[in-house]
Each structure stands twice: as C-alpha cells, then as structure tokens.
C-alpha cells in the first residue's frame, strides 16, 4: 500500500475509529443517554465542559457515544439487508434469467422511479416511529442498487471461459455460483457497501429531522441533530457536534469506498 492508497488508509482508519466508538463508546461515556439534570439544560461547552449539554441537561458527548451505536446499527442493518436480498436476487436473476429476471427488472424499474430517499420518507411516515421501522424504510429501496450491480456483474462473469469450462465439466449452478461467481463479483459489491453505510447514516439523520426517525428518546445522531436544529438560536453547539460526527463517519466510509475501488482497479490492471 503506497501513497496512491492514502484514501484507503484514511478511510480504514476513520471507519475503525467510528466502529470502535460504537462498540466501546457506551462503556467509556461519562453519563448514560437518559441521565438528565435539568439544572444544566442547554449549557454551552464553555459552561458545562466537554461538548456541552442538551435538552433536560443530557451530556452531548455521552449522547454522541451512545448514538454511534444506534447510527451504526442503522447503517450496518440497512447494508446487511440490502446486501443479502440484493446479492441473492441479483445472482438468481443474472445467472438463470428467464421470467424471474423479467419480473425483477420491472419491480426495480418501479422502485427506481422514486428518487433519493423519497420512498423511505414515505414508508417511515406511514409507520410508527421506531428504530426497526427506520431500518425497514431505508431497506425498501436499499437492496435495489446491490441487485442491479450483482446482476450486471453476473451477466459478464457467467460468460467467461472458466465458468463455461466448469459447466462443461458438469458443475451444478450452486457450485458455479459459490466458487466462481461470488468471489469474482465481490470487489465492486464491497465498494458499494462502503458507500451504502454512509448513505444509510445520512438517511437516518434526514428521517429523524423530518420527525420520522427513531422513537423519541433513542440516542441517535440524527435525533440529536434534529434537537440541535430546533434550539439553534439558544444552543448552536447542540447541532455542531452530531453534524461533525455524521460528516466524519460518512467521509470515512466514502473514502474507504473510493480507496477500495482504486485498490481493486490497480490489482486488476
């Protein structure tokens, strides 16, 4: 890994830090996410120390550490569901084709008619606010990108000579998918996963801001950002901290994605 892969290094380091914060943060957080002290409500960092306090005197730094776990849980769940469904569906559609492929492409066309997180906003709006429903709302369209990517890759790889040779030697579809297709399409899928993580965290934040996010009281970065925007005039520090946390996390995942792409491209050439 030389200087060309500094993006990958920055991305890996940032991702590791964010993941560590999510795993260990709640252990080292000075206060619990629901520990309140109304005598210290909305105090700036200069007055309260640390990153200041929020509504009902919650400690912003502690909330951020607890929130890392919730926000990453949303990110990894959305990516996990998207990857599982998208990989399965894309592999079957790409390899076998036929009516399944035709039906799938029409479903994808319909889902792609909704730009950005519009469908997630819509789904989150019609379901009661909860962590599970936020994950569901973001996952409804989350799998589409993976399915399209995997299908496209499979269409290319399945025509390669080694796959045809394998088939000629009598290998079954499951064996070919496991031994030839999956290992060969994993690179671009991993890149997509990195970008998906950042996208899901931004999506959670946007849903929380619209009042369609996690249940009230759940410590997520988006929920804190929503509070920060409401108290912007009296306590601007409340919006700054979660904004920076989200930006750092998304930046790390995006750098990881770009770095991975560069690394995989360089290996290919």
């Amino acid at each position: 890994m030389n200087v060309r892969f500094s993006l990958l290094r920055v991305g890996l380091t940032g991702t590791l830090l964010v993941v560590l914060a999510a795993i260990l943060g709640p252990i080292f957080a000075p206060y619990g996410p629901h520990e309140i002290d109304i005598t210290r409500e909305l105090m700036s960092p200069e007055m309260a120390g640390g990153l200041g306090t929020g509504v009902n005197g919650i400690d912003v730094f502690s909330w951020l550490l607890h929130g890392a776990r919730v926000s990453l849980l949303v990110g990894f769940s959305v990516v996990g569901i998207g990857l599982t469904v998208g990989l399965g569906v894309g592999l079957i559609a790409g390899y076998f084709g036929g009516w399944f492929d035709t039906v799938l492409m029409r479903i994808i066309d319909v889902l792609l008619a909704f730009p950005g997180i519009l469908l997630a906003i819509y789904i989150a709006a019609i379901l009661p606010p909860s962590l599970g429903n936020v994950i569901l709302a973001l996952s409804v369209t989350g799998w589409v990108g993976y399915a399209r990517l995997v299908r496209g890759q499979v269409l290319t790889v399945r025509e390669r000579e080694y796959v045809q040779a394998s088939r000629a030697l009598g290998a079954g579809p499951l064996w070919i998918i496991r031994k030839h297709l999956v290992p060969n399409i994993l690179g671009p899928v991993l890149v997509h996963v990195s970008f998906g993580l950042g996208g899901a965290i931004l999506g959670e934040a946007a849903l929380s801001f619209l009042g369609l996010g996690v249940a009230p009281g759940t410590p997520s970065w988006g929920a804190l950002l929503d509070e920060g925007a409401q108290y912007l005039l009296v306590a601007p520090h409340l919006a700054i901290a979660p904004g920076v946390a989200i930006a750092v996390a998304v930046l790390s995942f995006n750098c990881l994605g770009d770095g991975l792409r560069d690394y995989l491209d360089s290996r290919r050439t």
Partner: protein, 316 residues
C-alpha cells in the same frame, strides 16, 4: 427536423414502459397507504364525533370500498383532474399548482449553481494538478470540498447557513418565499452543495482521464493552443458523463428539496407532502409522490435522449 422526429420516435417507443412504471408506482403508493395506523376520518372529525357523521364521511371519501375500487377511483380522478383533498376544499391539482412553481424554481436554481460551481471547480482542480505546487494545493482543496460536500448532512448545512448568514449576520431572511431572490440564496446553497461536490469530483476525474488520451496528445502535437485543446477536445468529451450524472442527480434533488423546504419553511411540494402526511390527506400524498416520481422518470428519459444526441456511439 430530422433529429426532432427521431427524438419523438424514441419517446413514443419508451412511453408504454414509462406509463407501466408510473402505474406500478401508483399501485405501490396506494397499497402501502393502507398500512397507515389510524383513520383519516378520526383525524378530520375528531375521536368524539358522532357515529353517523363518521359513517357518512367514510362513505363520502370512499373509504368503505374495497382496495381495487378505491384504487380505480383514484386513477380515474387523477386522470380527469377531479382528485380532491380530504381536508382543504379544493382539488389536489390546485394545491400542486400553487406549490410546484416554488419547488421548480428552487430545484432549477440549485442545478444551475451546482453545475457552474461543480464543473468549474472540477476543471480548475484537474488543470491545477498539472501546474506546480500552487495548482496542486487548489486540487487538494477542490477534492476536500468534493468529499465534505457529499458527507456533510443537508439537515446540518441548512441550519448552520441560517445561523451564520441569517441570524448572526442579517444578510438573508430566515425562511419563507416572501423575501424575493434573497430568500432563495440559502436554500439553493443548501440544496445544491452536495450535487456540486459530486459534479466537481466527477469533472475532475473525467477531465484527468481525457487529458491523458491519445487524441489530446495528437491535438497538442499538431500545434493547437492549450485553450483549443482543452476547450474543444478535452472538455467536450469529459463533460458527457458529467452531464449524465447531473441529469440523474436532478431527481435526487427533488427528494432533497423535501428536507430543504422544511428547514427553510419554503412553500413547495416537499412542504405540501409533509403536511399532507401529517394530516393523513391521502389523495394529496399519493398525487405528490407520483408527481415527483413522474418528473424523475421524465428527467431520466431526457438525459438518455441528450446522451444519445451528444454521443453518437450510444444507440437508443
């Protein structure tokens, strides 16, 4: 004339597919609305309302019918322009006609700003990279903007812009559409930044790739000036994928407008959608979601057509 005819032919060929997608989208939206907990009749009349009134309103709104009948009624009213809001005494079309121009203005200005900012920055970065230490610094900061612009949440950037430029310095109004062009500056910046960042990154990458191509070297070798080489040969080719991405991003901008309009209290279709969701005004929700999907699908088609026109290798 010949080009116009071929564009019309392509459009007609794609039309059944587009209508199918929109029909599927409308079915999805209508079917999922049934999952909404609560009853719009309760929300309109209040839970204390008399049972007779409740039954009459349920019947008037068609909520006592089966789903296929309700969906058929919705489609019919959508096509004939008779779709009415549950809450306001007006048709959905009138509500959309009031809100849509605000969103279109916001979206178009954001596209214009992000195209000029993003492409400009991408060009400066790509050219700077080849010109000494100062150029490389420019390239570094352009890349930094490109990464930060995508990573910074819109819901953070908007309030921070408000705080700095509307609250601490009274340069722009806090929100609303009554302040003329001054009221547009912050929403446009907030909405356009992410797209500008993406375009800057894309322009830089495409231009760098093209600058290393054989035909650019040939253009230089035959003695053409740098301005002609870059303007006529490199940029023209580098911008084709950039314009495509810009077109595809425009749809995302419409979804982003929902968030931006809430931050800046902008009376567009995003605000109309969120209000209607809150009030369980189903016909408005269905129509607005479909409208955004329709615009998105049409913009994508326009980008495809444009791509076919600019790049003769693409067959549509």
């Amino acid at each position: 004339m010949k080009v116009l005819i071929s564009l019309a032919q392509i459009f007609l060929r794609r039309l059944p597919g587009i209508l199918g997608v929109l029909l599927g989208a409308s079915l999805l939206v209508s079917a999922t609305l049934r999952l909404v907990p609560g009853d719009p009749v309760d929300l309109i009349l209040g839970e204390e309302a008399h049972e007779v009134d409740r039954q009459r309103l349920t019947r008037d709104l068609g909520l006592d019918r089966s789903f296929p009948v309700q969906y058929g009624m919705f489609l019919k009213q959508l096509v004939t322009g008779e779709l009415r809001s549950y809450r306001a005494d007006t048709t959905v079309y009138e509500m959309i006609a009031q809100a849509l121009p605000h969103t279109v203005l916001l979206a178009l200005l954001s596209v214009a700003v992000s195209l000029s900012l993003g492409i400009g920055l991408g060009i400066i970065a790509a050219l700077g990279r080849r010109r000494g230490v100062r150029g490389q610094m420019v390239d570094f900061f352009a890349l930094l903007f490109a990464y930060l612009g995508v990573a910074v949440p819109r819901i953070w950037l908007g309030p921070v812009l408000l705080l700095v430029f509307a609250v601490h310095n009274d340069l722009f109004p806090v929100g609303g559409a009554d302040a003329g062009w001054r009221g547009l500056v912050l929403p446009v910046l907030s909405l356009g930044t992410a797209m500008a960042a993406m375009l800057a990154r894309m322009t830089r990458a495409c231009l760098l790739e093209v600058l290393g191509a054989d035909y650019v070297r040939t253009a230089r070798a035959k003695g053409l000036g740098e301005r002609v080489v870059i303007g006529r040969h490199a940029l023209r080719n580098a911008l084709i994928p950039v314009i495509t991405i810009a077109g595809l991003q425009m749809g995302g901008l419409l979804a982003g407008a929902v968030v931006t309009e809430k931050i800046f209290n902008w009376p567009g279709i995003g605000t109309l959608l969120l209000d209607s969701i809150q009030k369980m005004d189903f016909p408005v929700v269905q129509a607005v979601v479909l409208l955004i999907a329709g615009i998105y699908v049409l913009v994508n088609l326009a980008v495809d057509l444009l791509y076919g026109l600019t790049d003769p290798r693409v067959r549509l």
